[in-house]
């Protein structure tokens, strides 16, 4: 990084945060602090919903997913548009009719206080733990690649987001989201254009796409019914539907983004804006990863992208042999790809098939050496971090892009980190204040100034907790999956609570409360004892909560009937 990069990075990130804090410094109204400005339009709501979901991990891990496993991850988002339609039609009108600050207030209205506390507690547990991950994830990757010390990056990022989120609450979050999304979009478009311009001579864009396809990176849709496959149309449609429904419908960090605004229309259009754009957007980001795979067949790159980890462990001659073998395999792969391109242009099907087989074999050889490198790392140190896909895109940014663009792309990463973190902190602060503090201090509800002070303090406390968690905890290697797995374990049951509330009118608070506890226990036991795609836990948790609620309600109703007759 040079001076130009630093200027772009700091001016963008600190500038947006300072602007958000300054513009919202006068917020004294609890409604504005918790739900945003009442005049917020659908465009701002839509961008805010998008920015909340798009964490820095999204922009670091997803191109890595495309590079490593291809673009099949896009299927994960198939349930999202359907879920958003359901949220618009069912959840949002109910939240607005009840005029709630948090989604969990609805559970109190529909059931009872203990069910509300359970729902809010599940949210705080899941989102509170994830808050540490979302601050740690980009920090560790950027620090590793750029050689920056990790702890100051975590603390600086944390303090910046705490400052404007505590100052302006939900209004500051929505205001900064607009500019952060602009930076993210500018960064990703810049990266895509520069990547396309740097694709190897003779292949260009269309040839590179064809090569990525021939090398198995463009299998976007998989209709397989094999439950052990992580990404298929069915896991995306069903598991993804339940994950998205619980995330957008019951997670306060999202609910808070769209329950404000002058009317139901604004929230609905903001959500549908995401329903239309999300899959194409993720497809483009995954394609960046797939094209990076082709790019790196022709550009020198390390056998293992997390070079800090490699240098830490790869000391003896065995690793030098792996590096040499990888360079040789890469040269063979380049030749094989060029031969395939020529064969493809010759319109000779038999020649093309032979060249394709040779290209795939050469690529398999290069991939086998990468696998060998990971195995050697593990042999050297069983605690070594052997997944390097999160480092692919950032390595491309810092080694291939011109100065200025590097600063812009890093600004996009940090903008994404701050945007998702701000929503989380605001939601955690709101839920703790409204669903817990007010529950135990009911007389304080009428004191608006005190509510504001408490909401600010809880928001700051959650921020400090997230920073401390990021500083002192170790995390799973694939960061986006760590968050999705955590979400899948808790979200299903939380969604079950809300679906029972919306659609099973005869089920009461006690039945759904104990059913939710039993279902959550079941999901945790299954997670530690079975090997199935994690998205299925959304479906399992939700279905178990609903089924057990029906069974318990039937038992309770029968007992009440017997008791009634006996008396």
């Amino acid at each position: 990084m040079n001076v130009a990069d630093w200027i772009v990075l700091l001016a963008t990130i600190v500038g947006i945060a300072a602007y958000g804090a300054w513009r919202t410094r006068q917020v004294r109204n609890l409604n504005t602090y918790l739900r945003g400005k009442p005049s917020t339009g659908w465009g701002t709501i839509g961008l805010s919903v998008m920015a909340t979901q798009a964490s820095a991990i999204t922009y670091l891990s997803i191109p890595g997913q495309g590079f490593e496993s291809g673009i099949g991850f896009v299927q994960n988002y198939f349930g999202l548009p359907l879920a958003l339609i359901i949220v618009c039609a069912v959840f949002l009108p109910m939240y607005r009719r009840l005029n709630v600050y948090t989604a969990y207030q609805f559970l109190a209205e529909r059931f009872d206080e203990k069910t509300r506390l359970l729902g809010a507690g599940l949210f705080l547990l899941q989102r509170g733990l994830a808050a540490g991950v979302t601050i740690y994830a980009p920090a560790i990757i950027v620090s590793t690649v750029l050689g920056w010390p990790l702890d100051p990056v975590i603390v600086a990022t944390g303090l910046l987001v705490i400052a404007y989120t505590v100052t302006g609450g939900s209004e500051a979050v929505a205001l900064t989201h607009r500019w952060q999304m602009a930076v993210i979009a500018a960064g990703m478009v810049t990266a895509l254009i520069l990547l396309i311009l740097r694709l190897p001579d003779g292949l260009h864009f269309s040839g590179s796409v064809a090569a990525a396809g021939a090398l198995g990176k463009l299998h976007a849709v998989d209709f397989s019914l094999d439950p052990s496959r992580r990404y298929t149309v069915w896991t995306g449609l069903f598991g993804g539907l339940f994950l998205s429904l619980s995330y957008f419908g019951t997670d306060q960090s999202q609910v808070q983004r769209y329950i404000g605004g002058p009317s139901l229309r604004e929230g609905r259009l903001g959500l549908l804006f995401n329903a239309v754009l999300k899959i194409p957007m993720q497809f483009v980001i995954l394609m960046v990863g797939a094209l990076l795979f082709v790019f790196y067949q022709f550009a020198p790159h390390p056998v293992f992208f997390n070079q800090a980890e490699w240098r830490r462990h790869a000391q003896d001659g065995r690793f030098r042999v792996i590096e040499t073998e990888h360079a040789q395999a890469l040269a063979q792969s380049q030749s094989a790809i060029r031969a395939w391109v020529q064969a493809r242009a010759s319109d000779d099907a038999a020649r093309e098939a032979t060249a394709r087989a040779a290209m795939v074999a050469a690529n398999d050889r290069a991939q086998a050496i990468r696998a060998e490198a990971r195995a050697a790392l593990l042999a050297a140190d069983p605690r070594a971090k052997i997944k390097d896909s999160d480092y692919v895109f950032i390595t491309f940014i810092v080694t291939q892009l011109p100065h200025g663009a590097v600063g812009l792309l890093l600004a996009a990463m940090f903008a994404a980190a701050l945007s998702s973190k701000a929503s989380e902190l605001s939601a955690l602060g709101s839920t703790t204040t409204i669903d817990f503090w007010r529950h135990f201090r009911p007389l304080a509800a009428a004191d608006e100034a005190r509510n504001m002070r408490v909401a600010r303090r809880f928001t700051a406390l959650w921020g400090i907790f997230a920073v401390a968690f990021a500083l002192f905890a170790g995390f799973a290697e694939n960061l986006i999956e760590a968050i999705n797995i955590l979400g899948s374990i808790f979200y299903g049951v939380l969604l079950g609570l809300f679906l029972v509330a919306f659609f099973l009118r005869h089920v009461g608070g006690s039945a759904v409360f104990f059913a939710a506890i039993a279902a959550q226990t079941l999901v945790i036991v299954m997670y530690f004892s079975l090997n199935i795609g994690y998205l299925w836990y959304n479906l399992i948790g939700c279905a178990a909560c609903i089924a057990l609620s029906l069974v318990l309600q039937a038992i309770l109703s029968r007992r009440a009937g017997v008791g009634g007759r006996a008396s």
């Binding site: 548009p81 618009c88 607005r96 600050y101 796409v209 976007a220 229309r265 549908l272 009428a446």
Partner: protein, 50 residues
């Protein structure tokens, strides 16, 4: 007073005010149709390149 202001009930039932769409059901149908089109295009993309 800390309760949020009550939303205007008339505005809660208003039409989507989106050109070409008279009801929210029509808007949802459009979004669903768009989703089906995107999945169909991805399926074609997979058949072409994978």
């Amino acid at each position: 007073m800390t309760s949020p202001p009550r939303p205007d009930r008339h505005r809660e039932t208003e039409s989507p005010d989106v050109p070409g769409f008279g009801t929210w059901s029509a808007v949802y149908l459009f979004v669903f149709g768009w989703f089906v089109l995107v999945v169909a295009l991805l399926t074609v993309f997979t058949a072409m390149y994978a």
